[in-house]
């Protein structure tokens, strides 16, 4: 199991932590450590650098956003470390802070997503390998709050679906599977979106995410 993805888990609820450890172990991940607060997470990362850390945003002692703070700090020190933030609520502000510099190896998901185990595992793998995984809720909020609604209204319904999935960080192949269309059709939609919104075309998925998010946020 040398090529197993190595994961650190930071989650203060014991029941969820144990569940995650069990689930990830079952799916062939290697757990470096499972801790219950951000201080222990920092120490754990320094001891044994994993590929990705699953971090609860709200943890002791202040129960506000220490998970996010720890994540930002860890990214500064270990730019290749993937971070999957995990929360009961979606705060667009956190997403903005997290994605301010780079979307590579960043994930932000509602905790509910673990119920769909395969999707969750897929997102974790994506983040671990330098991709992006944004919760559909984050994308919905960003689209809803965007001041570019006039440009967005120029998109067809299908194109808007593709845009949202793109913003979540999915690849063309994943978008094709999710919408049950061919990959070629997805490519065509993507090209149309980039033309209509006047965005620079980029090849890698996470750059694409960033371009879309910047567009929505501007």
């Amino acid at each position: 199991m040398t090529d197993a993805i190595r994961v650190a888990v930071a989650e203060d609820s014991a029941i969820l932590r144990d569940g995650l450890v069990q689930l990830l172990g079952d799916r062939g991940f290697e757990i470096t450590e499972a801790v219950s607060d951000s201080q222990a997470l920092r120490a754990s990362i320094e001891r044994d650098l994993p590929d990705v850390a699953v971090v609860d945003i709200r943890m002791p002692p202040t129960f506000t956003d220490e998970g996010l703070r720890a994540a930002l700090e860890l990214r500064q020190r270990h730019p290749r470390l993937g971070i999957l933030l995990f929360s009961q609520y979606i705060e667009t502000r956190y997403a903005a802070e997290l994605l301010a510099e780079d979307a590579a190896g960043i994930g932000y998901l509602l905790k509910d997503r673990v119920a769909d185990v395969s999707d969750f595992v897929e997102a974790l793998v994506r983040v671990a390998s330098g991709g992006t995984a944004l919760d559909p809720e984050v994308v919905t909020q960003l689209v809803g709050a965007s001041r570019r609604s006039d440009s967005l209204s120029g998109l067809s319904a299908r194109e808007r679906q593709v845009l949202s999935l793109m913003a979540e960080g999915r690849s063309n192949a994943a978008i094709a599977t999710s919408l049950v269309i061919s990959e070629g059709a997805v490519e065509k939609h993507v090209a149309n979106i980039f033309t209509k919104l006047d965005l620079p075309v980029s090849q890698s998925d996470h750059r694409r995410v960033l371009a879309v998010l910047r567009f929505l946020d501007s």
Binding site: S13, I15, L20
Partner: protein
Amino acid sequence: MTKTEVDGSGGDVQVLGEKERLIVVSEVRLEQGRRLARIVVHEPLGRRAWRELLYFVLGGLLTGVAVAFIALTMFTGIALLITFIGVIIVAASVRGSRGFGRYHRALARNLMVEDIDEPEPFASKPGFFGWLQSALRDRVGWRAMWYSVLKVPLVIVGTWFALSVWIDAFFCLTYPVWGSGNTEPKGFGVVWNLFPPGYLSIGTSGFLHGLSIFITGLLLVLLAPWTMRLIVRLDRWLMRLLLSPDPVTARMRTLEDDRARTVDASVATLRRIERDLHDGTQAQLVALAMRLGQAKEKLAEPGELDLDQVRRLVDEAHRGAKETIVELRDLARGIHPPVLDTGLEGALSTLAARSTLPTELTVELRDRPTPTIETIAYFCVAELLANVAQHAQASRATIGCVQHGQWLRLVVRDDGRGGARPSAFGSSSSGLAGLTDRVHTVDGHLSITSPIGGPTVVTVDLPMHG
């Protein structure tokens, strides 16, 4: 004689006879008399007497200035009231009176120990007309004006009745220096005038004449601090009445504080509920969904089905669901116990029955308190019983819930080790401090007596209709 006898019996005689008892009594009287004499003689030399004299003189001068200002401004203002300028002058008069009030308070604070709280600072509404309106409605200013006006008769009476005694005393004492022949000190105070001029003077000249007037002076010195104190005491009373913070404003401020505390308390409660939901129920449900999701995927997997694994997952999910139900029920009860709807007695008996140690309950209620009070009473008892179970090492507890007129008194007593202090109970949000805050929001009281070794008694008084 008496002295020797007392000394002779001192220490040896255990039981005092009738004679000795009388002797002891007279000894006590003697001691009291000595103390009185000491006070009378020492008083004129004490700092207090001189400070009061200085206060009276300076206060009197200040009153003169204040009243001159008030009279001038008010008369002009009222005379010109028909024009707008009159209104401005009256407003200025009120504002000025407020300032004089501050000097009066400062004088009392510095010269006597009379520390009268500063009233609310003048709060002006924006704009000139706002200022005008605020000044005319400034209760503190109007009360300070009344103080200055009412102090005038006090200064007059005080001058004649108290200051005069000091002055007369001075002239009498110095008479031997400046007096001669047929002259007599010119007394003008009330004490002097109550008697024929020159009382206690013997003859009209000579040594005895001078001596007798000097002795009169000594007696007046002994008297002077006391008449002055009487006047100053009246002044202090007047000050506390008119120069203290306005009771109406003060009451409003208390109400505002109470309201802020209530709001804080309810925000804290909401936060606690959110935390409980977030860390408890929500986490439980996520874990539950996660297990079911895993089981679902296992069932959908092609090939050989690992029934044991699926069974384990479903089993864990089932247990998780049941735990979540219990947790939610406890949480809901923490927000509002449904049993309270049937009345406090039923709710308290449920609490007593649920308690981990034998608990005896006495309820004597003629009326039903308001729901707010019932809820506070319920949570007080719940928290206190939880504390007893956790900290007290008690073998039993009693709960008393008795109505005294318009008050509800809760008494929770345990036979534990005692030594409880408010800070030692739990955290500030959920512990005794939180309870105290909650009790205060309805003007109730909470007190603890908990000597080392016990027993601990916590008494909570709540208004029946808070």
